[in-house]
């Protein structure tokens, strides 16, 4: 497949990710997204500039934030005539936003754009029980004092209460972790393998900080200069000592240590055409080559909730004429350590590849030393919509360091049985 022109990833910015109810407890999605944009604008000298468009979103969103991204743009130093829109594709939001911006640039509909995402697990909207909500709306509609009194009196003490949103699948009522526990058990993913992956994530992310890798990818926020969840001195013994959090009985393998914590944070990625980059003195880090999304039927129990990337990747590889081993770097979002391991195992499994993917031969194994080399969500944290931007900017810079032609694969699983994947190539 050829595209009219190539869209380049030019740079990125994020604020350090915080744990739920941490330093960003009082920060709104709009605050954090604005901060991420401001850092990006400052780094690339875009104050007062109009970029093609800004596309971002949040998974957990207040109803007042209907125009979240546009409001963040208006609160930023970008020119006020920069258009913006919100999207939401669960944890795939940030990567999907990148695909959308890159596509418009490739088609010549835009010269530049910013893709981003934000989420707060702390400043969450609070919902009242459905019965109370209806009674309150009735009270609001009441016209006469008598009607108002009647409507008010209809509210019973038992109606009162609040519902804080949780990361539960609406159609199954199961949490994401519970879903993942089922998949992990199906693929026989061991506790040890998960803990090893989690430990590598922390050590890799810590090493990246040590060498200053994030100095031009991050802007401190509210006193935080590094991801709060990072444990540089974590050990396999410490991880092994944690109690299991998901799954039941002796088969349970998933702990708080090998699952991502609820987090707050925001990220943004700057994309542009080669000409726009040149005019702004910016060197492309990586080209956006291709993107693909997939969804699976997790309701019937046929497939695991977070397994859609296993389907999206081979479709994209076939289109590009690439094999799974054609990549210098792999960024597989660590929703849970077992998600990454299940996905890799599925690609190595002849039966899965034949029956589910319709492939004659399995995709095969990857060189694990190329996987999440600067850590991923287990160490950094995972503010849902912000993860895609974190990965794209990190991978683009890593590929640039490797040199022209180096290829990277991105894979992000998402709620609702969805998955978003992409290929980047060093510019």
């Amino acid at each position: 497949m050829t595209t009219p022109r190539r869209a380049a990833v030019l740079g990125g910015n994020r604020i350090p990710f915080a744990r739920q109810f941490g330093p960003y407890a009082e920060a709104s999605n709009q605050d954090m997204l604005t901060a991420a944009l401001e850092g990006l604008v400052a780094r690339h000298g875009l104050a007062g500039e109009r970029v093609g468009e800004v596309v971002a979103g949040a998974v957990i969103k207040h109803s007042r934030d209907f125009n979240l991204t546009r409001e963040a743009v208006l609160g930023s130093s970008l020119a006020a005539d920069t258009p913006a829109y919100d999207i939401q594709q669960a944890c795939g939001t940030g990567l999907e936003a990148t695909i959308l911006v890159a596509n418009k640039i490739a088609l010549g509909q835009a010269d530049s754009g910013i893709a981003g995402g934000v989420d707060s697990a702390s400043d969450a909207p609070i919902v009242v029980p459905e019965r109370l909500r209806r009674k309150l709306l009735r009270l609001n509609r009441a016209k006469t004092p008598a009607d108002r009194a009647r409507a008010a009196l209809a509210i019973r003490p038992t109606d009162l209460g609040i519902q804080v949103p949780a990361a539960n699948e609406p159609r199954t009522g199961m949490s994401m972790g519970e879903h993942m526990a089922v998949t992990a058990a199906r693929w026989g993913i061991t506790r040890e393998a998960q803990d090893e992956l989690a430990l590598a994530s922390h050590h890799h992310l810590a090493a990246a900080y040590e060498r200053g890798f994030f100095d031009d990818l991050m802007t401190p926020y509210l006193g935080l200069t590094r991801d709060q969840n990072l444990r540089p001195d974590s050990t396999i013994e410490k991880l092994a000592s944690l109690r299991t959090a998901f799954g039941t009985g002796p088969e349970a393998t998933m702990t708080a240590g090998n699952s991502t914590p609820l987090s707050d944070g925001a990220s943004a990625v700057l994309l542009g055409s080669p000409e726009w980059a040149e005019a702004h003195g910016l060197k492309p880090l990586a080209w956006f080559v291709d993107g693909e999304t997939a969804a699976v039927d997790y309701l019937s129990g046929e497939e695991g909730l977070l397994m859609a990337p296993a389907y999206a990747v081979p479709r994209m590889l076939a289109r590009q004429g690439m094999s799974l081993q054609d990549f210098d770097l792999y960024e597989i979002h660590e929703a849970f350590a077992s998600t990454v391991l299940s996905t890799l195992k599925a690609w190595e499994d002849p039966e899965f590849c034949r029956d589910r993917l319709g492939l004659e031969a399995p995709l095969g194994a990857i060189d694990r030393s190329r996987l999440n080399v600067n850590g991923s969500s287990l160490a950094a944290g995972h503010p849902f919509a912000a993860t895609g931007g974190r990965i794209v900017a990190t991978l683009a810079k890593l590929l640039h360091e490797k040199g022209s032609g180096a290829r990277g694969l991105v894979s992000v699983c998402a709620a609702g049985g969805q998955g978003v994947v992409a290929v980047l190539e060093a510019a």
């Binding site: 901060a35 401001e38 850092g39 604008v41 400052a42 780094r43 690339h44 000298g45 104050a47 007062g48 130093s77 200053g212 994030f214 100095d215 031009d216 991050m218 802007t219 401190p220 926020y221 200069t225 702004h280 003195g281 910016l282 060197k283």
Partner: protein
């Protein structure tokens, strides 16, 4: 910008004014500071001096063109914006009478925040001993007048070279303007080896220039970035990654770029130069402002504290300059401005490491200004030495100590970060091509180290 300190506000009110006058307390006034579009001087400027006043002859056209109203007699009914006294023709101390005769009647007619500018020649170039004495005397006179002046007025001395008096135009205009609000009792040496650039928009003298400011996230550095930006420069704001949040805010405010890099990193200079080159096409102005204090009595200073101050404030500049002064660094005709401190001139109890670094900075200026390679490339290197400046840092000094630091100067108040920034912007302008190797104190004529 910042409001006057509480005491200054009080003594400028009705009761406070009477009380301060009765008790003989310091009577600081809000200083006249530059804002875009402001007149070059606040009222007519008296010109006079000795014999045929060659400096004024050379400056007259430029001053008039800049919008300064010149007068040869003390006007009736209106206050003077300043006095320019030309003693370049003085050959013996007896000739100093001309200065007294011009200045004495004028001093009583000065307006608020007026300016006294004495113009003379370099004592070292004198051809006789009496001439050298006369030239040297100007410094003593100027500094005494600075102390005598009230109501925000300042006095400074400009030393010019024979035949190139017009090169001092930029300096004289700076001293007459609100840009030099907190510069008092200073000696400006104007070289002669290069012509003064003219044609620059006086409101945007740095238009088209690319400037780098280290330590730009807050305090004096942030105001340097703002002032250079206001004067037309594209500003690369540099600070440590941990200060990135406020750095981004400053960079976006001035429409520049933020570069998160620790100045002590080995590749800091190379990264700054590469950023300026790829993003903005080159580098014209470098302001080495980043600095830290680790105050302790020397007796209690350990090696680590000592080393960190010297490394950030002095050694990092040397390391960065290897890249910044290389062929693909600062462009020919570029400007480098360093930030010293009066602690580096006068010393300060408990600040040996800081004073060492800031005195060392003056050594750098001397060394670079004498470097033939840099001179050939037209690169000037100068420094400012701030006195008591109202910053977050000085706000943490205990009240009594702070009040003493603030009042022990001819203007009886602390300066603002923008006052330091204005002098740096002055050095950065094309018009100052002939000024190199100088250290100007921005201290309100502090008594320390005077």
């Amino acid at each position: 910008m910042a409001r006057p300190d509480g005491y200054t506000a009080f003594v400028n009110g009705g009761l406070g004014k009477r009380l301060a006058a009765t008790l003989g307390l310091p009577q600081p006034v809000p200083l006249r500071r530059h804002s875009p579009g402001a007149a070059p001087a606040d009222g007519p400027v008296l010109v006079g001096g000795h014999a045929d006043t060659p400096a004024i002859a050379g400056l007259r056209a430029g001053l008039t063109a800049a919008g300064v109203t010149l007068t040869e007699t003390v006007p009736e009914g209106i206050r003077l914006g300043g006095v320019v006294v030309d003693l370049t023709a003085a050959v013996t101390p007896a000739d100093l009478e001309s200065l007294r005769a011009t200045l004495a009647p004028a001093l009583k007619r000065l307006g608020r925040c007026a300016r006294v500018v004495v113009v003379g020649r370099h004592p070292a170039d004198a051809s006789s001993v009496p001439e050298r004495a006369a030239r040297r005397a100007l410094e003593g006179i100027t500094r005494s007048v600075g102390k005598e002046l009230r109501a925000g007025a300042t006095a400074n001395l400009v030393l010019v070279t024979e035949g190139t008096e017009a090169a001092a135009l930029g300096t004289v205009l700076f001293l007459l303007s609100g840009r030099s609000a907190y510069v008092d009792g200073q000696v400006f040496r104007v070289g002669s080896d290069r012509a003064t650039a003219d044609g620059a928009d006086p409101e945007r003298p740095l238009a088209g220039k690319v400037a780098v400011v280290t330590g730009a996230a807050r305090g004096i550095g942030a105001d340097i970035a703002r002032t250079l930006g206001r004067d037309g420069a594209t500003v690369v704001c540099v600070d440590v990654p941990a200060a990135g949040g406020s750095l981004a805010a400053v960079a976006n405010e001035v429409g520049g770029t933020a570069l998160q890099v620790d100045v002590t990193a080995d590749d800091a200079g190379a990264r700054i130069a590469a950023h300026a080159r790829t993003r903005h096409g080159g580098l014209d102005v470098v302001v080495h402002n980043a600095g830290i204090t680790r105050d302790r009595l020397l007796a209690n200073t350990d090696a680590e504290r000592w080393a960190s101050v010297l490394d950030v404030n002095l050694l990092s500049i040397l390391r960065m300059n290897e890249a910044l002064l290389a062929a693909d660094g600062l462009r020919d005709g570029g400007r480098m401005v360093l930030v010293s401190s009066i602690a580096g001139i006068a010393g300060n109890r408990g600040q040996s490491s800081y004073a060492a670094s800031k005195a060392g900075v003056i050594g750098l200026v001397d060394g670079y200004a004498a470097d033939e390679g840099l001179v050939a490339r037209g690169i000037t290197v100068n420094a400012v030495a701030p006195g008591f400046i109202e910053t977050e840092m000085t706000a943490r000094i205990p009240l009594a100590t702070r009040e003493i630091g603030r009042r022990l100067n001819s203007l009886a108040q602390g300066g603002l970060p923008v006052d330091v920034a204005e002098t740096i912007a002055f050095f950065a302008a094309d018009a100052q091509a002939a000024v190199s190797g100088t250290v100007v104190r921005v201290c309100g004529q502090s008594l320390l180290g005077a």
